[in-house]
Amino acid sequence: MTATTQQQTGVTMTNVEAVRTTLHAALVRDDRVLVMGEDVGARGNVFLITKGFLEEFGPQRIIDTPLAEASIVGIAIGMAMEGLRPIAEIQFADFIYPAFNQIVGEAAKVRYRSNGDYTCPLVIRTPYGGGVRGALSHSVSIEALFYHVPGLTILAPSTPADIKGLLNAAIECPDPVLFLEHKKTYRSVKGEVPGGYYTIPIGKADVKKAGTQLSVVSYGYNLHQALDAANRLEGDGISVEVIDLRSIRPMDKGTILESVRKTRKLLIVHEDNKFGGIGAEISAMVAEEAFFELDAPIRRLAGPDVPAMGYALPLEEEFMTSTEEMVDAMRELARF
């Protein structure tokens, strides 16, 4: 077992290592924590996130489930209702659909329907997003299919430090959390991670780069591209503030409005399709709350309204928003 569970001082690691070490520490810390899903045992998860866990924690805590997503989530719900802290994995976000009933119809409503008689402290982790030649069914963004659902918490951190703090917060959370990990950031994103145990409050966005002329709200792989784009524009004298949404439900109105009231312009960037996506709610909220403080229409830069990116490289590239397109959109809006 190589996970640096006892890591006390800050170290640099990738997103995938942040998931892995945080899960490992949780298993060490709290024996109510279980990890379950397809191929999380001997295989150590298809991204090797749980590699070595089976040997260390045994098959009672690292559970290779049958191939049946509804039951992976549903059984984890039962465990959670009975006081355990299951962390269920959906191998790829694209395969979460069969578990939709359990997430939306059941987990999200356990506390409400029983008026608190039962609760459901469950974490569902899943890798989402494209740009890895995952084709039609290993690339989807799923956040907009769930963010409308009261009773659910949805997190989508993009850096190793945020992953650690928010995954810890998710495990502590007394209600169900959908924890989204952008698979293209797994190994491409590295960062410093503070030592010791900490949590980041759920529902707080993070200003990843301060700026004055334009606010950009993003998350996931796009967030990193947006930061690159903003840094490039710095050279041209355009000052862009980049907000990492991190928490999709609940959302951080305060941070977004504060930024927009300062910059008076807003660009929302997400990989998921535009129509009915996360950007719709952000845009609607800002237009409701800060209408007269905007100097330009809010702009959404998002995936095209087609079912998925294709397998062929040109189709994937056409679907994904490039950093250049972000630079252009920021420049245009800043000039408006």
Binding site: S71, V73, I75, G78, E82, G105, R113, S114, P174, K253
Partner: protein, 343 residues
């Protein structure tokens, strides 16, 4: 009627149950019937918009409840489990509070009637989505096994219609693979609203599905509380002892329409129902206990007066409660304050 009490006593195979337990089962069945009638009556009176009866399920539920170990086992019920809810300790007042959607209902008037929840008693909260609770039941059984709490088991109930759902299949399969302490009790009342069993499955018995999961499957007479008790007791004991899951199919019948919103005259004949009514488990069990000398007519009468009085008192008490407040709509969405937009 010439037999002596003692002679009669020998006629009853009591499944190892004491007189007290037999009487408790009868009482449960009488109370069920009374509460069932009350729901439909309140609906006809326009006092409540909806009720759903379990007439025909009294015996299986009284028997299963008797096998359930209070304080140790957990019940993952479905909406037709009035007798189980009562049998594991829920009160008529709780049932009536739910029918009236009053503040004293555990869900505080949120859930439909018959969607029992009582954490203290180990009665799990359920949704209306058929078979949705089966995986939860398996999760609780998995928790028992994980924590090494032997002697504990989960009783997961459904109708026969629910076994068509993919989630039922996934639940049973997982429990089988992991050898979990759980009993899947399927109350086969021949109908799923208007859909008869043969349009639901090709097999004659739900229990025939068990071998496909590598599990024992047992059919029992769901019109006999003792027969059901015996089978359920054995299945729960197996689970308590680490012997894994069992599928128990109790053959019973739905005497009433599916609910007060349904009208079964469109899809089944009166004759078929009358045929089954002749076997009505409630008077039959009462008669059997009298004939066996476990109770006498006087006690039988007293029991019936008793459950009627209890039902009346619970009705009055529940009706007198206030509705939940409008503001309560916003509580217990998630822990703490809840705002989808976090300020």
């Amino acid at each position: 009627m010439a037999k002596t009490t003692a002679a009669r006593g020998r006629d009853l195979d009591r499944g190892g149950l004491s007189d007290e337990q037999l009487v408790a089962m009868l009482r449960n069945m009488l109370l069920q019937r009374q509460l069932d009638n009350r729901g439909f009556q309140l609906n006809r009176q326009g006092k409540i918009p909806f009720a759903l009866g379990s007439e025909g399920h009294e015996a299986v539920q009284a028997g299963a409840a008797m096998a359930f170990e209070r304080g140790r086992d957990v019940l993952a019920p479905y909406y037709r489990d009035l007798g189980l809810a009562l049998g594991v300790g829920m009160s008529p007042f709780e049932i009536l509070s739910s029918l009236f959607a009053r503040q004293t209902d555990r869900s505080m008037g949120r859930q439909f009637p018959n969607h029992y929840t009582n954490h203290d008693l180990g009665v799990m909260s359920i949704s209306s989505i058929i078979a949705g609770h089966c995986t939860h039941a398996v999760g609780v059984a998995a928790a028992f096994k994980y924590r090494g709490e032997s002697g504990r088991a989960v009783l997961c109930t459904t109708g026969e219609g629910a076994t068509s759902q993919g989630e039922w299949h996934e639940s049973v399969n997982y429990a089988a693979v992991h050898g979990l302490p759980i009993v899947f009790l399927v109350q086969n009342n021949e109908w799923a609203i208007s859909t008869p069993q043969d349009m639901q499955m090709k097999v004659a018995n739900v229990a025939d599905k068990a071998p496909g999961y590598g599990l024992p499957g047992v059919v029992c007479d769901g019109f006999s509380p003792i027969a059901t008790y015996r089978v359920m007791h054995e299945a729960l004991e197996r689970a308590h002892a680490g012997g894994g899951p069992t599928i128990v199919e109790a053959k019973c019948y739905r005497f009433l329409s599916h609910s007060t919103d349904d009208d079964d005259r469109t899809y089944r004949s009166r004759d078929a129902i009358e045929e089954r009514r002749k076997l009505d488990p409630v008077p039959r069990f009462e008669q059997a206990l009298i004939e066996a000398g476990v109770i006498d007519e006087a006690l039988a009468k007293r029991l019936k007066q008793d459950v009627l009085r209890e039902t009346n008192e619970a009705t009055d008490a529940a009706e007198a409660q206030p509705y939940p407040t409008a503001e309560s709509l916003y509580t217990n969405v998630v822990a703490g304050d809840y705002k989808p937009w976090q300020d």
